[in-house]
Subunit: 343 residues, 4 copies
């Protein structure tokens, strides 16, 4: 790859400490299917940080898999899940949720977030057995377009859900970036306490692969491993994910990697703004969406890889830049230089 890529936060392998941990434990004999001592320890570390010793923790290989298993494990056949129309499950999972039998009720969202009034609108609309029955709410933090929930917002959603018997599920593929965002005003523990279940993303924050599903609500815990097995998510060498989460949560590594990703995005955003450009959504996490003239985009594209997100008008488009723990700062500087030079 000649061009430096800001396409996503999974272009590289794992943080070196992760690989070391895998090497160090490699020849120890362990039980299969997530019943090894590493998974147990990793779960204990996460539960401690959540201050929820009763939480159930399950490790699996990817985000779409986590979403489809959690959602299909919660909903009755006739129930649906409410999501923003920008939500990963609504657009970018090839119909994974519907393939388990459930409709997604989407709500148009400009900033990638759901608000209580959006959810209420869907609930009010669904009145009888000729329609699906909304059974849960899906949100992402950070969202698919880089925004971060405020405590006040998440609390309001959480309370509405409790009152209306809707389960609340949070997709934390980029939770590390959300938690270490300057816009964030919640701890991991606080977020956890406001949702029934969520997952902590590893793949996009330093792991080779892996996500950790956290189930807080007792009603959702029973026989969850059957769901994992049935959907092909119970890895024979479950240890592979356990070891990584053990490493990420035995100290502050998980948060340090998020901070590092955000720092690179902030540097990009600050300088792009200084050069006179606007953004599709306010830069808050490791995904930012600057709006550039198409000519600038062409020029940048000769040296860098990134997605053109959407057309703004005839002359300009928003692009997506994603940073990670592995982002090369000199490449960030080169990108900034390229933008400034031609502005």
């Amino acid at each position: 790859m000649a061009k430096y890529s800001f396409k996503n936060d999974y272009s590289e392998g794992a943080h070196p400490r992760i690989l070391e941990a895998l090497s160090k434990t490699n020849l120890a004999q362990e039980a299969g299917y997530g019943e090894d001592s590493y998974c147990t320890k990793a779960a204990a570390l996460i539960k401690k940080r959540l201050k929820n010793p009763k939480a159930d923790i399950h490790f699996l290989s990817g985000g779409t898999q986590a979403n489809l298993i959690v959602i299909s494990s919660i909903l009755k056949p006739y129930e649906s899940v409410i999501a923003a129309d920008t939500g990963h499950i609504a657009v970018h999972e090839a119909g994974a949720i519907e393939a388990t039998g459930h409709k997604i009720n989407t709500v148009p969202s400009k900033d990638g977030k759901l608000a209580v009034k959006d959810i209420k609108g869907v609930v009010d609309f669904h009145s009888d057995e000729h329609m699906v029955k909304p059974g849960m709410v899906f949100i992402s933090n950070s969202t698919e377009i880089g925004t971060v929930y405020k405590k006040k917002e998440l609390k309001a959603i959480s309370e509405f859900c409790t009152k209306n018997k809707l389960y609340l599920y949070l997709d934390g593929a980029r939770l590390a970036s959300a938690l270490t965002s300057k816009s964030n005003d919640m701890t991991l523990q606080e977020i956890s306490s406001l949702v029934d279940t969520f997952y902590i993303g590893g793949t996009k924050n330093g792991a080779l692969l892996g996500e950790a599903i956290v189930i807080n609500n007792d009603c959702l815990k029973e026989n969850f491993r059957f769901h994992l097995k049935q959907k092909g998510a119970l890895l024979a060498k479950g240890r592979v994910i356990g070891i990584q989460f053990m490493e990420l949560f035995k100290d502050e590594l998980y948060f340090d990697l998020g901070t590092r990703a955000n720092k690179m995005a902030e540097k990009l955003a600050k300088n792009i703004k200084a050069a006179g450009y606007k953004f599709l959504t306010r830069p808050q996490s490791n995904q930012i969406f600057p709006i550039f003239p198409n000519k600038m985009i062409e020029r940048l594209n000769k040296k860098f890889e990134f997605y053109v997100w959407c057309k703004i008008d005839e002359r300009s488009s928003a692009i997506r830049l994603v940073t990670s723990w592995a982002t090369d700062e000199r490449s960030v500087d080169r990108f900034i230089g390229e933008v400034s030079k031609h502005s």
Copy 2:
């Protein structure tokens, strides 16, 4: 773990060369979702070995996942899959196939294999639209009880399937052990040429995790990546599997690891036989099933871990011993010693 485990072939991590390969490539930027250069190279190596440049190769994380995706991608809603009643999909996948909407027509099997007459029986029984319509055949090699198909047997099945418009799929979770078994009379290329699609197991033969689906039949290739994505099998860092298969197939590593596993099983089998014991099925691969008096089993169990497979009579049971590339030969010798001492 104080006791040495013969429980399975996924008790340890990966072969050291695999970890090295992951480390060496770690910081290179690559495309996501299996479109990286490692997956491309690994696929090329496999295709070369199969002498089938037109084969489609897809990498994913586990065997149940491979089975459910391949099977559900092939069958029409009303079609079923024929399998031995010992087949992994029939017993040990928590209903994963049925969860995709398809019935498994099982046939009683003593040695874990299917024969043409078994398949014919199922086909003949299903006569009209009040019943499912068998659409494919599932076999495993080596089987779930350690046996290995002969070329003659596989060829007969393959011909019957072609004549009867049944797709033939082979679960190769333990294909390395089958191919390097003394009972085996087929090359990887020959096996591949006799089936429509199969998977080459990595998890149980040296990989950290990962399997490689091979699609030979053109009719089954179209849009397969949609199936992978929809079932949560398209890993963001697909490179992780690609790198491993590149390493396994760039020389004879894949086969060497199978040979090593078989050698340990042979040593166990030969000495157990010499000590006067019989077997549930003839030892052929890295899973063997000696029959011991229950007292002997108790005694062995104080020093070793293994599964008690089934009761033979009031006084004796068959146990399952599994070896792998990582099996410690001294532990094999200790096991043999224990058996011989008390016989």
Copy 3:
């Protein structure tokens, strides 16, 4: 049709009183989707007869539909249903249950019935999350091969299910014939009290079409109409089924029609036996399975239609004869005459 048919109990239309009832109510305006006054009245009549005012009653168009909706409404995604291998859901519903995502654990059965030991065997075999979890038991009364459960048998199954947290569901496609069989020792109310849910078959006992699902267990009642709607079973003119069940249960019509069907079968069975022939299963209801020499079958087949059920030996086979409320007694006599003449 020149030949008289003993193929099934749905060769004719409806009992004349059913058609009259439909005509009489035809132009009254009623609410749609089963919320009409006829469905309400029919439900009340059935509940009264069951002495269970709290039962939920739902009307729908057919038996496969009833089975797939009830079963999929009860089971969690990873749960299975236990059935005899002769069970309708196992063989003759084109994979309808699996299409809703669930495995059927079948048990070989010679007389079409399940016994406690069969169910226990399945439950004991399923030990962990690598396998499905049996969640309910399916039985038919009368069974698919004409046998009828004794109170003692049903009670034993019911108690085992309760102890083992298995829901018990009874397919009553031919419940009228079972209840009016000379082998029967239970009332409709008694049967109902021993199962969580069942359906009362109308199609095969005088209705134009229609079955009545009865839900006794409170846990299974919630939102059942959503399941009906989602599976396409909520008829716009639900009244059509309600009117028919109102007619069948406003007096003894439902039972009289069963009695009439059985009487014809008994006449056939008695005379076939007198002519020296044996039966596959003991004649008990409106389906009987005499064993004839193949030559006799050929001869009978020139004048009558029926299914050849299974081969007994090189020279003889069992055939299925089905009678109904509409069976023409002269044709019964002609059949007997034909059998006797050549014996």
Copy 4:
């Protein structure tokens, strides 16, 4: 029911000729599951009218059932169906389509119709395997809000679908009203020739119950009865639907009933307009949506039943009035009188 109902077109039973036909054929013995002579004759009559002797015709009990079976029989697991957001499958089928595993891509529609640009927008948006792949288009004629497609419109959609390898399916629950609408410029044959498959609605046009699926495209014909059986749609007494369609299509009855329904709706519309009121959509078929002041709605509601469809502003709402072959003209006149009196 004291109030006269304009709630829907399935408040009454069947047209008297339908009941007569059922009575007349009642005791004839016929084959089960749609293989009777009535279904065969009804299919022949329909095929003749479509001038398509190769069409496949299947009869079943209801519209949601028809939609879920046709759509799930056509789509591959990763494919979606495009529909207007007012489409029956999108809103009023309790997630029946998603329950078979498929996403519905909805497009906002003001008049209930889809236009080529709507379909093109969905197709263009779906670019890769991270998203579903649109595989077919669903339209209704007349639509769920009473509008009727013009030949030019349907032809444009049909051509776009052919070019873009999308199957086109038409929900004809109210096809009789569409075909006999003054706005209509197509024959049944012409509509049929422009779609791959559609269904002719019986329930809402004089039948006791029943719809006729027509499959024109050869690719969609194979093994369709398996789909019917698996979804519980193959009625044991399939004759019940066959007889009704035989009666509806042996002369002009099907069209006469549609004409009669439209005539009543026209009379309502014309007089409501004359009284100074507007409509949500232009009255074209047997469903009309006048906009009344809320006070008028309250007044009308004392004497008539109807659905309040949607709020227009603080003072007024649109209501839905539905007429049918059975609509009582005096009640129409009373309704008009009530409206005129207070205007």
